[in-house]
């Protein structure tokens, strides 16, 4: 298995609070991996460390056999790791088209392509619009879109960077229950065409089991289970601490406070 991402002995502390403890994980190419865990379990912290928003207290992160620990989000993005956000991070005053234009433009520029708009670039934007079903919103102001569409645009913008590794932070949060599957179908089929390795954080176990090949279960900063979806979802610890069958008391550590 070709390894895309490898975390070794990853730790992150905020003062006395441990947000990530001894995380060791390898992610293979073309896999779809789900990250589960209750709020404050360390999923977003993990994504934030991989994408350079947070610097690990100790340990290392390797991407395609290259050490990326402590690089900035910008450098990491340029290497081919893109992410979406739990709360969509859009250019609120620009139209949907312009949002994608910026994304495609930056990617083209870092690939040392021409400095101005080309027909090729236009094609790329149109493809994204089509794949993410944004055609009806092309000229709408991003800041005024409905939540589900904002999510889609946010993910489309991450995909615009032509990632090899894509991290999605709660792609279906804020999306109504009956739309979740439609959204995930759309995202996954869009990504299949691109051949991207995907990591996504998700609370809905139905979605996780439907779309992933593998699940990492987080609890108090540690990975307590790692394996095939059925196996992980059957795991006693996971059932207790993540799915919450005994509704355990745990502190909200605030350090991985989402949003």
């Amino acid at each position: 298995m070709a390894v895309v991402l490898e975390a070794k002995d990853l730790n992150k502390n905020f003062g006395a609070v441990t947000a990530a403890a001894n995380i060791n994980v390898q992610i293979g190419r073309d896999s779809v991996v789900g990250l589960i865990g209750s709020n404050g379990a360390g999923k977003t912290t993990f994504i934030n460390m991989v994408t350079g928003y947070l610097k690990p207290t100790s340990g290392s992160i390797r991407y395609l056999e290259r050490d990326i620990t402590g690089l900035s989000p910008r450098q990491i993005t340029r290497l081919g790791i893109c992410r979406s956000f739990q709360i969509p991070q859009l250019f609120g005053n620009l139209s949907v088209y312009e949002n994608l234009q910026v994304g495609v433009g930056v990617a083209a520029r870092s690939a040392r392509a021409k400095a101005s708009a080309t027909a090729e670039e236009w094609e790329e934007i149109e493809t994204l619009i089509e794949r993410f079903n944004l055609g009806g919103y092309r000229t709408h102001t991003a800041g005024l879109l409905p939540e589900g569409t904002r999510k889609l645009l946010d993910i489309a913008m991450a995909v615009a960077g032509k990632p090899q590794l894509l991290l999605l932070d709660e792609p279906t949060s804020g999306v109504s229950a009956d739309e979740k599957f439609r959204l995930m179908d759309m995202v996954m089929s869009a990504l299949k065409v691109q051949g991207v390795t995907v990591l996504f954080v998700e609370h809905d176990m139905e979605i996780v089991s439907r779309y992933t090949h593998r699940i990492l279960a987080f609890y108090e900063g540690r990975i307590i289970a790692d394996g095939e979806p059925e196996a992980v979802l059957r795991d006693a610890e996971v059932r207790r601490y993540v799915i919450g069958e005994h509704a355990p008391m745990h502190q909200d550590d605030g350090a991985t406070n989402h949003g």
Partner: protein, 324 residues
């Protein structure tokens, strides 16, 4: 809400757009009509276009989400650079003087921009204000540069060609027109380039820009240097056309007037600053004549009205009508 969706099934046209056409038309009209203009009108247009060039730089910064209360720094540097060439070295060529204005402003901005690119909102405004006040403080105490009085200057040649009494005015006017055109056209093109488009993106969401792999600081730094260069050239042009420079050009109230024009004009188009500056200059010359003590009152009230009821500035009146 049932918004009609404009279907864009073709790549956007690459040719000349409306702004470029208006710019070209203005260039031709002004160059041709120039010699026919009365002296006062030529002078007023000269100053308006020069100020428009300065405000064009403000537009670029404001598109990036930054308001500078210190563009007077580069305006003043540009004017003094042009003036110093004449004052100390007897060089009186418009081209050489303007190049000096541009070079000095760009060089200083390249250095200060390294620092300012880290600042946002009121901290950007305050630090840029501090820098311009530093220059003001230095100039008022530098007797070699005329202290608070400044000094006079004039231009006699254009690219080495001696102009003579009759053409001096027009040559300066034509130069101003050409400079303003190039600046507007250049910024217009820049804003539709990849890097230029990042301005609005940075204003809206810096985090996302970094997460797309672009350097926010670098873009701000570049835009800052462009804005400063435009202010420098504008300052050089104003210095030459008034024939005098003084430290007041770096005082914060001068920068405040640029901010005013930028707010009045709006950032919708590169044409807006020139329109705004022309209105500003015309109203000012009449107000000075008839009611010198209500000029700022007019400015203040206008500014409040624009902020409250026309946040896109005067330019948004045009675009609104177009959409209707």
């Amino acid at each position: 809400m049932n918004q009609t969706v404009s279907i864009q099934k073709r790549p956007p046209a690459q040719g000349t757009d409306r702004t470029t056409i208006v710019l070209l038309a203005a260039l031709v009209v002004l160059l041709v009509a120039g010699p026919l203009l009365p002296r006062w009108a030529m002078f007023m247009l000269n100053v308006s276009l020069s100020w428009g060039t300065v405000v064009l730089g403000m537009l670029l910064l404001m598109r990036t989400g930054l308001v500078s209360f210190g563009q007077g720094l580069y305006y003043c540097l540009g004017a003094y650079a042009a003036g110093a060439l004449h004052h100390f070295y007897g060089i009186a060529d418009i081209m050489v003087m303007l190049l000096a204005s541009l070079a000095l402003a760009a060089a200083v901005a390249a250095v200060l921009g390294l620092l300012l690119a880290k600042y946002r909102s009121i901290f950007f405004a305050m630090l840029s204000l501090a820098f311009s006040m530093i220059l003001f403080g230095l100039l008022v105490k530098t007797s070699a540069l005329g202290s608070t009085d400044g000094f006079g200057l004039s231009a006699k040649t254009l690219a080495g060609i001696t102009l003579g009494e009759r053409w001096e005015r027009y040559a300066l006017f034509a130069t101003t027109v050409v400079v303003a055109f190039c600046a507007a056209f250049g910024v217009h093109r820049y804003l539709s380039s990849h890097q230029g488009r990042l301005a609005g993106a940075i204003r809206d969401n810096e985090l996302r820009v970094e997460y797309m792999g672009a350097s926010v600081r670098r873009v701000i730094h570049v835009n800052y240097v462009i804005a400063a260069s435009l202010a420098g050239i504008g300052g050089g042009l104003v210095g030459i056309s008034i024939g005098h420079v003084d430290p007041e050009m770096a005082f914060w109230t001068t920068s405040g007037e640029f901010v005013f024009i930028a707010i009045l004009s709006g950032t919708g188009s590169v044409l807006a600053p020139f329109l705004g500056a022309t209105i500003f200059e015309s109203v000012r010359s009449f107000a000075y004549e008839y009611s010198p003590n209500t000029w700022q009152l007019i400015l203040g009230v206008t500014m409040l009205l624009v902020i409250m009821f026309l946040p896109g500035g005067l330019w948004s009146v045009f675009t609104r009508r177009k959409a209707a």
